[in-house]
Structures are given as C-alpha cells and as structure tokens.
Assembly symmetry: C2
Homo-oligomer: 439 residues x 2
C-alpha cells in the first residue's frame, strides 16, 4: 500500500474504495452469471462419486496412468499431482502418474521408458476433441496399444471431452470407450475442478472432496462479502488492476517459497495470461521460486524497471523438516539450531523487506500447510479473481481469439485440406533477415 | 526487422548500423578486458585434464553425485545435465545426479530418499564460501555423513570455491578436503565453463572438451567479426537493446521448442536479469516452452501489451522420433505420416508466422541437434551478448548490488551477531495491511 511504499508505486486505500459501486454491481452480475459464463463457480458443488469410483477401478487395475493433454487439459491436473502427492510419488506409489503434453519426441520417449504400456491407463483430455498435440500423441499411443492388446486396447483408455461435440467424442462413441464430460460452459483453463483435473487427482490418491470443500469455502466467503476490503478475490483483482493501469506494473510475478507449488504458478500463468491478455491489455505473469530465484531475479526486481507487482505464497508449516546441527564453526554459527523450513520462511521475510525498501508492491498469501482443502481454496480464489478482472479490464476473460492463427498456419504447413490460402499467407509473411551461420 | 513487422515494433537496419562506431570501439575494449572483467572469455582455453581425472574417480567410486549450490553455482551445471545427458539418466546410468539448491525441506527429503548417503559424493559449490542455503544444506548433510562414515566422511566431499577466501576454503584446508577453484575473476552466473559447471558435467558423462570446443569456436567467430551484422553476440545484444530502449520491449521471452532446453532458459534468466537489471534498466527475461506455452501464453504475446521480444530456440534434428500412423480417421488424416518432431517444428513455424502477423519482434536460433559442442556455442554466445549489453546500457554487468539487502534482513531475523540495527530497520519497514483471514 501507498502508506508503506509511497504513492508512486503503492496503492491508496481511497483508490480501492473508489471502486466500491463498481464492485457491488459486478458482484451482483457475477452471482447472476454463475449458471452461465461463471459456471466454474458451480463445480465445487458437483457430485463426484462416479469419478471416485472409476478412479478406484483404475488404481486397482493399472500400474501407471498417463494424462495426454496440453494447456488447460493438463496444467490443472499436473498442479494437483505435484502439489498434493507425496514427494517422489512415482518411486513409491502405484499407479505412477505421467503427463504427455508436448509433441517433443524426447519427452515422449522419457514417458514410454517408464511405463509398461499394457498396464497403463491413458486419459486423453481435450475439450474440443481435436487439439493437435494431444491427438498426435494419442495416435502414436493408440497404434502401440492395438499392437500389444488387440481388441482389448479399449480398456486402457479414458477420454475426457465435450459431452457431444468433437472428434474424440465421436471416436469414443464408436469404439465404446469410457468417457467423462468437460462441462460445455467451462473453458479449459477454468476446468481443473471438473473431471479434467479431478479424475487424475483421484487416481493419484488425492482427496478430491476435500479439494472441493476448500473451493466451496472460498465461494462462500466471496459470495457473502461484496466489500473489496474483505473479499480476497476482489482485493487481488483490484490491486493488480490498479497496479497495472495506474502504476505501470505490467508484470505480475508469483513466487511461492515451496518447490511443490511450482506448477501452481504454471497453472496461474495460463489463467492470468490467456484470460486477460487481449485488446493490448493484461499483465504478463512471471514464475519465480523462493529462495532459488533470490539468486537469479531479485537484483532485477529491486533495481530493474519498476514494472512488477509480486505475490508471495508462503507455507506456514512443513510436514517434514530438517534441523541444522547445534555445534557449528563460528563463521556459520548463526545457523545453529534453526531448521530448513525456518530459514526458508525467514528468507521470505528478508526478501519482502528488501523489496519494500525498494518500493516494490507485493502481496503475501499464507496457507498453514499444503493440503487439498487449501489448494481448493487457492484455485477458486484465483479463478474468481480472474473472472472479476474481466469486468475491470472490460474484456471477455473466457475466450482466447489469438490462439487460432498459429494453429491455422500449422495446419497449412502440414498440408491439411482447405488451408491452401493460409499457406500462401504464410509465404507472404514469413521472411528471414540477418541469417548468420556458424559451423 | 521493420521491413517485416513495421517500424513501430521492428528494428531498422539503419538503427543497427548507426551503432557501428560504438560496436567497433566496444569490440576492442572487450578484447582488452579478456584477462580482467571479461575473464570468462578465457575459460574455453583452460586445461581440464584434472577435472576429467577426478570426475573419472567419482564415476568409478560413487553411485550418486549431489551438487549443493544455488544460483550461479547450480544453474549452469543443471542446464548441462538436463540438456546433454540421456533422457531418464538417473533411471539408467550411474552415478545418478541430483541438485540440492533450495532450503525447502520437501526438496531435501526428495533427494535424500533417492540416494544412499555412504555411496554419494557431495559437491558443495559456493564462490563466496558462505551462501546461506548452500551452507545450511551442507551442514545437515555433513552431520549425516559423519554419523554414517566417521572420519572417512571427507572422501564423500568435493568443494568448489574461491581459491583463497571464504569459510568453505578455510574448512577445506583444515579438513583436507578435495577442492576445485572458482576463478576469482569470474562471477557465479558466468562460471558454467569453470569447474563449477564442468566437474558435475564430467561426472554425468558429458564430453566437456567438446563443450569448450564449441565455446572456443564462438569466441573465434565473435573475436574476428566486429561488424554487428555478422557477429551473432553483438546482433543479439543490440537488437534486444534497441527493442527495449526504442520500442518499449521490456520483456525478453526465450522459448525453446524442446523440453530438454528448459533449464537453458533458467540459466539465461539469471544471466540476463542479474547482469542487466540495474539503474532502473534491463529487460525481464521470461521462460516459455514450445509447444506447451502456445496453449498458455500466446494469446497474451499476440494481443496483450506490446512489450515483448521473443527468442525461439529450434532443434533441427532429433536423435529420437515417433511417426504418426498412416491410416487415420478422416477428421485427423492431415496428421498421417508426419512425425512428432516434424509437428513440433511446424508448430514453431506456425507460431512465428502468427507472431509476425501481430508484429511481435522475434529471433530464432537454430542448432542442428543438442550436442555438447552446440551448447558450448550457445553458452559463450549469451555470455558475450550479456557482457556487450553492459556497454550499451552503460552499467556494470558483473555485479549484483541489490542482492545483499535481503540477505542482511534474513541474517537479522535469524539473530546473527552484528545485525541488531538491521532488525530494527526491518521492524520499521515491515507492515502488513489488509490481512484477510479465511479459515
């Protein structure tokens, strides 16, 4: 706030309050949209018994489980897996969980090497049913499965896709493959609390009811509280908006002091960038990890361009910890008796103080520990903050019009029928200048 | 260039050429500084036989090898390991390689669970000899080693530190522990081609002579060519500088179309941010991975704020590849017969065309394949581009003055002697506003 870091970089309380009427009005619009554009707000209330049941079957029957999906079809599930399962899950527990996202053959190989395809369940996830990377990876896997298992290949597949439309749904109907629905009103990046995220989470042994309970709790808090100073989602949205549009903070850094939350930031990056990056507006989300990036990015954050607002994620308690020995040489005796988690927490405080001194605006979100309930709260918090930000920027946070163009050029380059004109356009546009070759 | 995307966002050839005299002058300054500030330019010419020899001993003697270091003491080594060893190295080869960077206890546990401490060599890397995270992790490991091995614990340690100064050197001398030197004239983020990066690389089985041969080649090219249009390092530096200072491109995105180069970007992020982020200047480096981030960030890159210049890294050939089957349903028949690597490459082209259409300036660096020689070239290329950029921005690219403050607050919070005043300052500065609690 301005009272801490000054008015040039900090936000004034009066500014927040000046949006009072806007917030109240938007709050009521959101409540009305919960069965339409804001349908993701309904997800915490769904019945998940069929998901749990099928996940139980997969857990009993298979040694490995591979999500084939990309973007909104995998980031949420991966975030849940990496934050909520035990360290080294795949070394200790069955089924092992993998994500096949990219069409990078090295990545493909690395997954193949770790699974026995006959004992692996593949969850193909694409809302449209036709995402290039997902279908490409799936096609290769499918031919391998058929070769290994003949007609029984079906049992090793689960599709998560639109309930009616698209290639994958059609194929699933034809071949009688087990399918889960992506709710039509929920876009990929808002779908983690649908079967897209919940099925892989349940297979990984995560308590998905607790996850939804946390989301419900946050929904309750944010539905009741229409005052920006008491509604955490609106406060996050509005402070980022003011920081961006009135203080030039065009970059939103999210910096958890926890390696396990690394992919929470990947999930947030898509949510924030794809929802708000349009009409020449929106912040660029940037991932940093504490303390690692203190040794890489803090120089820039303190003394570079003053274009950042930083959100720290702090875990108050760690389920596991290690104590530094009591007897240490004098040079390092200040470490004696502290624990690793204590040092991590104090480094966060030290870094915050240094940023405050440099007048860098920052927000801290503390959770007592990494639990399904708390992650559920965080998911809902950021989804709602993103949806609310759409009203602030006066843009539609639920579309992604600029993503199509690159796909169309790719189709053209692959010789897909009907894309001849696009190929001509490509040749017009694409020019290489300054080609320097070094042998 | 402006002729492709227009003058508002693109660079004019005349602009590049207007720096001609500056470039020639700086080129000659750099040649003179190669034994001083630009000492990293000498590293490709060092004799590495003692590193190879000791690495050979470690490879024979130990099952695992853990680098304990953070920032410049680990990012380079991790980049070499992740880009240049075989996929799933740790599942197939000995010694397994790990990096203990953060003081996150979960991370610490995850490494401990995968090693047998008696059969593990720990490489403690810190130039100053006193980096908090490194010393904290090392202290815990040291007491475990002593417990397991008694006086023989020494054999499981190698220090890489300043040849004369610091706590670690002192301890190493006292306890007669094997040590390698960080050249005093080379800062952490420029040290990957010193024993900091080379020892772990050699232990991982990487051909470090090839790595240096690539760096030498790039040194040769860039030493001979003082014309900006033919010197790849100067062209990268100058085009980023013009994009930043004259076109408002405050963000430099690096986007490899290869998962293996993910940590090359982590290494670049530190180099670019910590070297140039000072005096209110410098770009914010951002990591993106193709194709994954097409489904997360491309919406923003095309239609968000016009503040980005993008560097693509393209791998022309893949050592491994998978072919999509010939017979596919009609809806997806355009994929038939293509390979995963082909799709990856075409997606890169499609994305580039879409960005060109949106007038986003971009650079592509193509390497024929991921090899030690090529990575050596890239390392030297970016180190020199960064050093050269220091002259453009008129800042010292080799210091990091803003990093100390956070450390000092952390020391104060941990009760280190002599930091009482800092603790008072902390209490003055640190104020929490708008604390919202949700149970």
């Amino acid at each position: 706030m301005a009272e801490v870091i000054g008015e040039r970089d900090g936000i004034l309380r009066e500014e927040l309050l000046s949006f009072r009427h806007f917030v109240v009005e938007t709050h009521s619009l959101i409540q009305k949209e919960k069965n339409r554009k804001f349908y993701f707000c309904r997800l915490p209330y769904q019945n998940v018994s069929h998901i749990k049941e099928y996940a139980g079957y997969i857990r009993d029957r298979f040694e490995s489980f591979v999500v084939i999906g990309i973007g909104g079809s995998s980031l949420g599930a991966r975030m849940l897996f990496e934050s909520l399962t035990e360290t080294n899950h795949n070394l200790k527990k069955k089924p092992k969980i993998f994500f096949l996202e990219n069409v990078d053959p090295e990545k493909f190989k690395s997954v193949l090497e770790q699974i026995d395809i006959k004992n692996t369940c593949f969850n193909v996830v694409t809302k449209s049913g036709s995402t290039v990377e997902t279908i490409a990876n799936f096609s290769v896997i499918l031919s391998m499965l058929k070769k290994e298992l003949g007609d029984n290949y079906r049992e090793n597949l689960v599709f998560t896709t639109d309930p009616e439309k698209g290639f994958l749904r059609k194929l699933g109907n034809q071949e009688k493959i087990k399918m889960f629905d992506v709710p039509p009103l929920v876009g990929g990046r808002f779908s983690v609390l649908s079967p897209v995220g919940l099925l892989p989470a349940a297979v990984a042994g995560i308590d998905i009811e607790e996850l939804l309970a946390g989301a419900k709790k946050m929904d309750l808090v944010c539905s009741i509280e229409e005052h920006v100073e008491h509604n955490p989602a609106y406060l996050i949205a509005l402070s980022h908006y003011i920081a961006n549009m009135r203080r030039g903070k065009t970059i939103s850094v999210m910096m958890p002091y926890s390696e396990k939350l690394s992919s929470f930031v990947d999930w947030y990056r898509q949510l924030w960038a794809e929802s708000l990056g349009k009409d020449g507006l929106g912040q660029t989300p940037v991932k940093a990890i504490g303390t690692v990036d203190q040794h890489s990015q803090i120089q820039l954050y303190r003394e570079g361009i003053r274009d950042k607002i930083i959100t720290f994620l702090h875990i108050e308690k760690s389920d596991v910890d290690y104590k530094i020995p009591e007897e240490l040489p004098e040079d390092i005796s200040y470490l004696s008796g502290h624990s690793l988690h204590e040092i991590l927490s104090k480094e966060l405080l030290g870094t915050k103080a240094a940023l405050i001194k440099s007048k860098v605006p920052n927000i801290t979100i503390s959770i007592d520990r990494i639990s399904s309930y708390n992650i559920g709260m965080l998911i809902y918090l950021y989804e709602l903050a993103t949806g609310f930000s759409g009203y602030l920027y006066k843009i539609n946070p639920f579309d992604q019009p600029a993503v199509e163009e690159g796909k169309n050029f790719t189709y053209a380059l692959m010789g897909r029928e009907g894309y001849q004109e696009k190929l001509e356009e490509f040749k017009e546009l694409y020019k290489e200048k300054y080609k320097i070759e070094v042998q």
